[in-house]
């Protein structure tokens, strides 16, 4: 697995929390929303999504309850908890810092180069 793939996989809980922060959703809706928002970049399989959701439920970041729309199959709806919102907030700050530092570090020599007027 490449570093980028690891990063994408490691970011899964944050992405799910960010989607649930805007309203309760079932697994399929989370997948679609993620795909649309990221224009396909962060699409994930159900085999990755559901274990991640269940893990987050065990950690108290999300809760779930069954819902049965008329004439449809039962669906499990997920909702973010206060602990999940807290994790999302701190996680967003950490990711922002990570990305900023990453680009600052990677672009450093180029900036210096330009600063030297060469």
């Amino acid at each position: 697995m490449t570093d980028i793939q690891q990063l994408r996989k490691g970011s899964t809980p944050m992405l799910i929390l960010s989607i649930l922060a805007e309203g309760n959703k079932h697994g399929y809706a989370i997948m679609r929303e993620l795909e649309q928002r990221s224009e396909g970049y962060f699409s994930m399989t159900a085999a990755l999504l559901y274990p991640a959701l269940h893990q987050m439920e065990q950690e108290g970041l999300v809760t779930s309850e069954w819902e049965q729309p008329a004439g449809q199959h039962k669906r499990k709806m997920y909702a973010i908890t206060p602990a999940g919102r807290k994790r999302l907030s701190s996680g967003q700050a950490e990711w922002r810092q990570f990305v900023d530092r990453l680009f600052t570090t990677m672009n450093g020599p180029a900036h210096l180069h330009m600063g030297d007027g060469q």
């Binding site: 690891q6 490691g10 970011s11 809706a29 399989t45 159900a46 449809q72 039962k74 996680g91 950490e94």
Partner: protein, 325 residues
């Protein structure tokens, strides 16, 4: 792969779950498939739908593996498979053999209870490794694989099996063949363990697998000092016991599997590893105060658990880069 096929394979992969748990999990995934089918953007022709479903769902085996990792069904069986052999079976193998064959000790070493006992112990360990594989439990394998390796190592060390051209057990072609067998098995299992440790990114399992090696290192160092007269007054472990047999180590061996295998909370699982490491390390540490190097060696199991626990907590609060933790 069509929808019933997917659910059937997923059901087969969830075999460790109770029927109720399995039904709930399958209902959720069936709901997902139905939601996909109702989606206007989803392909309507059977072939296109089947292809897209396969791509979006991932394999049912991956799904069941992921769900098993999270829920760890039948965790109590793992707990008992660590606790009971360690308390009720393995410590008694030599005692039972001596009772069954009281004359064996008077014959050659090759027919002694000690000689036979370690082979019986290895066979029991190997059985537990196979059970771990059959259960698909990495947590169980992380305990029994290192224990098996170390028991074979003790056999090779005690019988000097690596001295292929000399030594009591290598004086005949049969003895050399047996030595080669043990050394090959030891190497193969050690390579397997290294691959296992490299692939599992779960620090709890890595620490669990490493602890027995640290205990063995302490035992070998203490044994070496004892044999060279390093402890003139004897190597006196504290004699704290309950009912004559249950010392801190045995009590710890009842408590730590409960915490480690039954709990889903990481702090409790780390506490379980600490309870595993502490009694044996502490008792030996108190007996080893004459030698600072030995004290350091006996401290390492406890320090490893504490260090890994702290790192796990710190990393858990940072960006997660552990894909299968």
């Amino acid at each position: 792969m069509n929808e019933p096929d997917y659910l059937e394979r997923l059901k087969a992969g969830l075999s460790g779950f109770s029927p109720e748990e399995r039904t709930v999990l399958l209902e959720e995934i069936a709901g997902h498939i139905e939601a996909a089918r109702d989606d206007p953007g989803f392909a309507h022709d059977p072939e296109g739908r089947s292809q897209r479903l396969a791509a979006e769902m991932g394999s049912p085996e991956d799904m069941s593996r992921g769900l098993r990792e999270v829920h760890r069904p039948n965790r109590w069986i793992d707990c008992l498979l660590v606790m009971l052999p360690g308390i009720l079976v393995l410590p008694w193998v030599n005692v039972i053999l001596q009772l069954l064959f009281p004359q064996a000790g008077e014959l050659t070493f090759a027919s002694s209870a000690l000689f036979i006992g370690i082979r019986v112990t290895i066979a029991l360990h190997a059985g537990l490794v196979i059970v771990s594989l059959l259960r698909g439990s990495r947590a169980l394998l992380a305990f029994w694989l290192p224990e098996t390796i170390l028991t074979i190592f003790v056999l090779c060390f005690r019988e000097k099996r690596w001295q292929l051209m000399r030594g009591y057990f290598n004086s005949s072609p049969g003895g050399v063949i047996e030595s080669l067998f043990w050394l090959a098995l030891l190497t193969a299992l050690a390579v397997w363990l290294m691959i296992f440790l490299q692939r599992t990114r779960e620090p709890l399992l890595r620490v669990l697998a490493l602890l027995p090696f640290l205990f063995t290192a302490g035992n070998m160092a203490a044994g070496s000092l004892i044999s060279t007269g390093g402890f003139p007054g004897g190597y006196n472990l504290p004699q704290w016991t309950l009912f004559g047999y249950f010392g801190p180590h045995q009590v710890g061996h009842v408590i730590w599997p409960v915490l480690f295998y039954l709990s889903r909370q990481r702090p409790l699982r780390w506490l379980g590893l600490l309870v595993y490491a502490l009694p044996l390390a502490l008792m030996n540490l108190l007996a080893s105060t004459l030698y600072p190097a030995l004290v350091m060696l006996w401290s390492t199991p406890v320090l490893l658990v504490v260090w890994a626990w702290v790192v796990d907590v710190v990393q858990g609060r940072q960006i997660q880069l552990k894909p299968d933790a």
